[in-house]
Subunit: 215 residues, 2 copies
DNA sequence: AATTTTCATTACAATTTCATAACATCCGTC
DNA sequence: GACGGATGTTATGAAATTGTAATGAAAATT
């Protein structure tokens, strides 16, 4: 999960990009012109900027000249070679030409985030942070040690937050598919999670069904 | 300026790429198939690899899976979205589609080299210094002798610090790609590193998964 | 060829995980 | 409020996983 600044003056495109990148877990801040972008870069300190070249007022190229260390993916309608080279020469981390497929944009975003080490595939709620890439969990900055089953269960709950998960479903996903154990096993692990994380009301019991992680 | 490995089985293209990149001041080493590429990566330790996907023998994708920290620019004739995403997901630093203009390739090479500029030929933590260029390790100024496997493992851990690395991933990267050994081998080498470097708590075990180097 | 070094494998010890059981408490229904 | 089933809580021992040291084969060096 990373904080992204989406700079594009075309409202529908900006919306679409934001929506898609939010869906894969990022926080997206839209900006619709160069001046707004510069101000948001200062105040929000995004991890990555997706920057349209053609902007009212200050152009994308000029914005990039003012940047220092923030990674940038350039977006433009121009397919001319000069523009691409200009973008890369200015220090862009990547370049994508309109019209582009959303899948390609998200792939490029992930690639840039990975190599600039700015991606923190983490999930936070209350005073708890779950870092999936390092498999660490913190509560108030303090490290919480989870066993493999506990971590897998927490991961499942987070990925299906606000959904009621049946014990059977949980068994199927966290344990082996054909595992034929007591469903009470699930209960015990849920209690363990509640205890270790100190969250009583986030993991709700759905009577006669299973559990639901509410956020 | 930099040492580049050009991997392409089509002789004229390989020649052309080499020629152009040599003209802008790089040292170019050509490779014409996957096996040759792997061997040259080991012996020459290039700063950047330009990698064609379609190769006789081992594919470009498979080569990339085995790489650790060397930057890669993918070259392919396929314009399909899947291939592009696959390349980026595997950790490619850039992607270029045939046929491409030489000016664009050289621009992308410069861009990748600029942002991967490895000014850190050494890595230090606690009382330990790891010098990657000379492959020396010091603890309190005292020289620590590491075997090749141990050094490769340490390098992998440092390059992926604060990430949970699975035993399979470690085997894949440090050992040969088709090596089919006991995963306990990884454990033994990790213990050896912990012992030699005198770091017990830096290399954490991630139960049921593998290890994580914390810094 | 002899010596040294590297390293995969093995066996066993130490540790961790986790399913189960046993009992306590809660919930909905009557 | 009483009942029965469902869930919360805690403890325990077996099983799985990892730590450790030793061994001998293979590779590298002399």
């Amino acid at each position: 999960m990373a904080k992204l600044l989406i700079v594009d003056d075309e409202l529908p495109i900006n919306r679409l990009v934001c929506k898609n990148l939010t869906l894969v877990g990022h926080e997206c801040i839209p900006a619709y012109d160069g001046v707004q972008a510069l101000s948001l870069i200062k105040s929000e300190q995004p991890d990555l900027i997706i920057l349209d070249v053609m902007l009212p007022g200050i152009s994308g190229f000029e914005i990039m000249k003012l940047l220092n260390s923030v990674p940038v993916i350039f977006v433009t309608a121009k397919t001319g070679l000069d523009d691409r080279i200009k973008g890369l020469a200015l220090g862009a981390d990547d370049y994508i030409v309109k019209p582009f497929e959303m899948a390609e944009l998200t792939a490029r975003v992930q690639a840039v985030l990975r190599r600039t080490k700015r991606d923190v595939s983490a999930f936070s709620f209350d005073d708890i942070t779950v870092d999936f890439s390092s498999r660490n969990v913190y509560k108030n900055g303090e490290h919480i040690v989870l066993t493999p089953k506990e971590f897998a269960l927490l991961e499942l709950l987070i990925n299906n937050r606000n959904l009621a998960l049946s014990r059977e479903k949980i068994l199927e996903k966290v344990w082996e598919y054909d595992y034929c154990g007591d469903t009470r096993t699930v209960d015990v692990h849920v209690q363990q999670l509640r205890h270790k994380l100190g969250i009583k009301d986030r993991i709700k019991t759905v009577f006669k069904v299973g559990y639901r992680f509410e956020i």
